[in-house]
């Protein structure tokens, strides 16, 4: 037995270098793709953000000028993009996240069959992508009286004439928020649901003996602490999902910039400067700001649910 172990050990040290090379072969394809499509773009965005670049001539270094211009000269950014993005991100991000937790928690109180069917219905909108479904929303929110919403409201006598929903400064952002929330119960929602279902039931028994009195305390003191890792995963997915889906305003209204900048979010602002005005450096600076915002949102999530104290 010990001979076998010794042999194994000798084999292990000899094979270690070789094994390390094999490990590199295993990770190589992923690392290559990751580098080309994630790392280099992020680094390029950071570098370009310090340049003036019109996509034709070679970028020229201008230091912090883009950032200074964003803060001091970009009226659209300050007046519309920031307030819109904040409102959208806070309702869809943290708001949608709390909603997904509450839905998952209520589903966990039901019997398996009912739960599976309801969970499937709640999850299935996230299988659609916001942009392809814009086709459908454009019909529901159509601005003439053939639109479904207008037709219903007219029949009910709630409005006198049809509202041009998707071109309206008043309603576009709200519609974007509703549409995104509708399709936001995705992977994070499933993770939280799976987490809740897998909490050890003995914890609850112990909790009640220790004096937990109701469902709310049970959720607060047992369920949430037990599923912190899933809560964190769900939070990160909610934040990323929120910002990834934020191009929806342009898809709904059919124009960039959106009518009177009503649904203009930072993502649209980036594309407007990059692909319409060809100010790539400026667009890159906006991208860097967006990445920092996403990162800061995620840090909050890590503070709340992370196990490492950072």
């Amino acid at each position: 037995m010990s001979e076998l172990l010794l042999k194994l050990k000798a084999k292990k040290t000899k094979a270690f270098k070789e094994k390390q090379n094999i490990a590199y072969l295993f990770v190589f394809p992923y690392v290559l793709m990751f580098t080309i499509f994630i790392i280099i773009p992020v680094v390029a965005a950071i570098l370009l953000s310090f340049t003036y670049f019109d996509a034709v001539r070679f970028p020229s270094w201008i230091g912090f000028e883009n950032y200074i211009n964003i803060i001091t000269n970009d009226e659209v950014f300050m007046q519309y993009v920031i307030p819109n993005t904040m409102k959208y991100a806070i309702i869809v991000g943290p708001g949608g996240y709390v909603l997904s937790f509450l839905l998952a928690w209520m589903l966990a109180q039901l019997t398996p069959k009912v739960r599976t069917i309801l969970a499937l219905i709640i999850y299935s909108p996230s299988l659609t992508s916001g942009v392809t479904m814009a086709v459908l929303w454009r019909v529901i929110f159509a601005g003439d009286n053939s639109g479904y919403l207008n037709s219903v409201l007219l029949t009910l006598g709630l409005i006198v004439e049809p509202i041009i929903w998707l071109q309206s400064q008043e309603f576009l952002l709200t519609i974007m928020i509703i549409v995104t929330l509708w399709s936001s119960m995705g992977v994070g929602f499933l993770a939280v649901l799976a987490g809740i279902l897998n909490v050890n039931t003995e914890l609850y028994e112990a909790g009640y003996i220790d004096g937990i009195k109701n469902k709310f305390q049970e959720m607060l003191y047992i369920t949430i602490p037990s599923i912190k890792p899933q809560m964190l995963f769900g939070a990160v997915m909610a934040i990323v999902g929120t910002f990834s889906a934020s191009g929806i305003g342009v898809a709904l209204s059919g124009s960039n910039p959106t009518p009177q900048y009503a649904g203009q979010l930072i993502v649209n602002h980036i594309e407007y400067y990059g692909f319409f005005k060809y100010e790539m450096g400026y667009a890159a600076a906006l991208s860097v700001i967006l990445l920092i915002v996403v990162y800061m949102f995620s840090r909050v999530a890590f503070r709340l649910f992370g196990s490492k104290d950072e």
């Binding site: 509708w182 799976a194 009640y208 899933q230 990323v240």
Partner: protein
């Protein structure tokens, strides 16, 4: 003691119906209706004959269902004279390529990150957790510049390559491989299996639920994505179905186009739904290990 018999914790994941569940059903029903209505609308609209599309006021439920919208959708050709079936075919090829390649790439990397030792492993794990927060849409422009530099504009593979490295996919796979006991792997090493054999014979069969999950996630992203066609492809022959779908209503804004658009939406949506229903228990299995620790 009576208090304990009323112990509420047992009601998480209950096996039988109990009147106390009614309150949750009362709250959940309107939410579920809200989630369901747009989907029901697509179903009904897609099967409406032309005259029902013109009804005023519009009616939600189809009265005489027909496949006319689907046949018209498949017959119609864009302004460039390319039949829709071509876009559909492109999408199928792209999706299959991405699924096969991304499963291979992320399971290999996931196995190495979980069970093999190499320099830089810890850093790579940390970078990957950090990049869960990566929002691809933010770097559309630098990505475009890189794709341009690589000479991939108007190359069919530009639909595939950007979707191969998915941090969430690798993360889920790695978490799942972590559950596999090391003894199992060591035992087969003693039996003389090499790393590749361990990966194909032991790891892959054991992580099927996680594979199912990343298949669904990748399918969803790729099948629904119109971005690569809009951004990187000028040649109409190489564009995808999702892109075509988007142009459909933009060009034909008439009521008649709505029926076709709904039919196309249904074609976009149904494969997602079917795959998810088939694999749903495996997904829940994977999600139980999804936590970030």
């Amino acid at each position: 003691m009576k208090k304990h018999s009323k112990f509420q914790g047992t009601k998480i994941n209950p096996s039988r119906f109990h009147p106390s569940q009614i309150r949750y059903l009362v709250i959940l029903t309107p939410v579920v209706m809200f989630m369901l209505l747009p989907l029901l609308y697509i179903f009904n609209h897609a099967f409406k004959p032309l005259e029902e599309l013109f009804y005023y006021p519009p009616r939600f439920i189809v009265e005489r269902p027909t496949l006319a919208n689907f046949t018209r959708l498949f017959q119609v050709t864009g302004t460039s004279g390319i039949p829709m079936s071509r876009y559909f075919f492109n999408s199928v090829i792209v999706t299959v390529l991405v699924l096969v390649a991304s499963v291979l790439i992320s399971t290999m990397a996931g196995y190495a990150l979980s069970k093999l030792n190499f320099k830089g492993k810890k850093a790579m794990n940390e970078i990957n957790t950090l990049s869960l927060m990566f929002v691809g849409i933010a770097v559309t422009i630098p990505r475009y510049l890189i794709v341009e530099q690589l000479g991939l504009i108007d190359n069919f593979f530009v639909h595939v390559l950007p979707y191969l490295a998915v941090p969430v996919g690798l993360f889920l796979i790695k978490q799942f491989v972590d559950q596999i006991p090391n003894e199992l792997i060591d035992a087969s090493r003693v039996d003389g299996a090499n790393e590749w054999q361990i990966y194909t014979k032991i790891i892959l069969p054991l992580i099927k639920p996680a594979i199912a999950t990343i298949v669904i996630l990748s399918f969803q992203t790729v099948w629904n994505s119109a971005d690569t066609s809009t951004t990187y492809i000028n040649n109409d022959l190489l564009k995808t179905f999702a892109f075509y779908m988007n142009t459909l209503t933009a060009n034909t804004n008439a009521v008649a186009g709505q029926g076709m658009a709904a039919a196309a939406s249904l074609i976009m949506f149904l494969p997602n739904l079917i795959i998810f229903i088939v694999m749903q228990s495996k997904v829940m299995d994977t999600m139980a290990h999804s936590g970030i620790k």
